[in-house]
């Protein structure tokens, strides 16, 4: 599409040059072209400008959102492993191995057989995690590319370039006149010099419009062409997070929280005050992790993005009415709000994890091994 426009633009430029040899009604042509350009820019410029601005905002939110979701995917196996290690640490009868035998927690327990431990195999295979991270990156690249075209300042650069061209052409023309050595005739009074300026001005304006059209067309066609794929991606990611990732993350947070509460209740009488305080603080941390995991659904991000994307496609298919832009802006605002909320949750989870890791290294030589885990 853009190459057609590019060719068309080249043809326009050639036509204008050919016509410039004739001085017939050239002032009228200049006046008409400028008037048409003015009408075109004032009718489309405002709404398009808004869309281009929203695309940049859309991209910013996509980058933050995809990063936050990637954290969920990358940390899911680590959460499973941490829960398992906590079970081992708090229960001396349980042995680390390829399988978990729940009888180690209580010999009286009558349940089904052993299940593989996270030491033998992670719940989510690494290849599956990589495929999802890669998909998020593709989505982020798509958004970045659209934003790059939208933020491209080539129309302005083009106009600057044509202005330079104009100055050089006039200078060249004047030098040719000097070579012809025509006495009594000022170089800037020649016909070609008088017309060079307005003609190159028109080329500059039409060229700018042509590039703007090429840019606009590239954005529109890309959004429309990518519609089905982007919708599939967003829906897949949303379903995937809800069905597979979130259950693992929430039950892990639940497990660690419950495990530590039970451990405290069963053993509190043999702890001194300082030890109790320490475990209670960790229970509060696990409660916070549990709340963050259960209250923040990461699938909100792809779901909001799906709605924003629908508005974007609608806008790309239309002529960009104010109503369409307002709808897109409203979805983007909601999306941005949810992204910020999830980002904050991820930050808090990372912060809690960081505190735990610091505690782990400080207490690694402690006789009371279980403190090192919290």
């Amino acid at each position: 599409m853009s190459s057609n426009i590019t060719n068309q633009n080249s043809d326009d430029i050639s036509n204008i040059r050919l016509k410039s040899s004739s001085s017939f009604s050239i002032k009228k042509r200049i006046g008409l072209s400028l008037f048409t350009s003015f009408l075109f820019l004032t009718s489309c410029g405002g709404s398009r400008e808004n869309l281009l601005k929203e695309i940049t905002e859309f991209d910013k939110s996509v980058q933050v959102g995809m990063e936050a979701i990637a954290v969920y995917y990358s940390s899911v196996n680590e959460q499973e492993l941490n829960t398992y290690l906590l079970v081992l640490e708090l229960n001396p009868n349980c042995e680390a191995g390829d399988f978990i035998d729940y009888k180690c927690l209580d010999p009286k327990f009558q349940g089904p057989g052993k299940v593989p431990s996270p030491l033998k195999q992670p719940a989510i295979p690494m290849a599956s995690i990589q495929a999802r991270i890669s998909l998020l990156k593709e989505l982020s690249d798509y958004s970045k590319s659209i934003a790059t075209i939208a933020g491209n300042d080539s129309p302005e650069k083009f106009q600057g370039s044509v202005k330079t061209l104009q100055i050089r052409l006039i200078s060249l023309e004047q030098k040719f006149q000097l070579l012809q050595n025509q006495p009594g005739k000022s170089p800037d009074s020649t016909i070609s010099v008088r017309y060079l300026k307005p003609i190159t001005t028109i080329i500059g304006i039409l060229g700018k419009i042509a590039i703007q059209e090429a840019k606009w067309s590239a954005i529109r066609s890309s959004i429309i062409e990518a519609e089905a794929s982007v919708n599939t991606v967003l829906k897949s990611v949303g379903d995937d997070l809800d069905t597979y990732i979130l259950p693992l993350i929430t039950t892990d947070a639940d497990a660690r929280y419950s495990l530590l509460i039970n451990y405290y209740n069963d053993n509190r009488l043999r702890f001194n005050q300082a030890e109790r305080n320490r475990i209670v603080t960790k229970i509060a941390d696990y409660k916070k992790t549990y709340d963050l995991a259960t209250n923040n659904k990461p699938s909100k991000i792809p779901n909001d993005l799906l709605e924003s994307h629908k508005s974007l496609v609608k806008l790309a298919k239309s002529d960009g009415s104010v109503k369409d832009i307002a709808e897109l802006k409203a979805w983007l605002d909601k999306f941005k709000g949810d992204v910020e909320q999830l980002k904050e949750a991820v930050n808090q989870l990372s912060q809690i994890q960081k505190v735990k890791q610091n505690g782990k290294s400080k207490n690694s030589t402690s006789n009371r091994k279980y403190f090192s885990m919290f």
């Binding site: 050089r168 982007v230 039950t251 039970n262």
Partner: protein
């Protein structure tokens, strides 16, 4: 169907963990039993999720990945097409500039000879 099984197992696991924390109703032994039951269910849940994800979700994700990759390649081509157009204009301008400089050298010497 598989999704429903995962959902039910998740809810049940969470419920068992909740029971295990319930001091008001249960004694220590009962809490412990609920906790073990919850862990046993959690183990089965992880196993089920791992299997279903590989069988059900992975093919969709991989297909979506391929499609998005194709979209990005087409988008890159469009970007390049616009850049090429700008470059062409810039080249014309540069060529004229070279010609301008060359003539700048020629003109004074021609005029002196005249």
């Amino acid at each position: 169907m598989a999704n429903l099984k995962i959902q039910l197992l998740t809810e049940n696991t969470s419920l068992c963990f909740e029971y295990s924390r319930n001091n008001a109703i249960f004694n220590s032994e009962q809490r412990k039993m609920w906790l073990i039951k919850a862990f046993e269910q959690k183990g089965r849940l992880a196993q089920l999720i791992g299997e279903e994800l590989s069988n059900e979700s992975d093919p969709t994700i991989i297909e979506a990945n391929t499609k998005m990759s194709e979209v990005n390649i087409r988008l890159k081509n469009k970007q390049e097409s616009i850049n090429k157009f700008i470059e062409t204009i810039q080249n014309i301008s540069d060529s004229i500039s070279i010609l301008d400089t060359l003539i700048g050298f020629i003109v004074p010497s021609q005029m002196i000879e005249t």
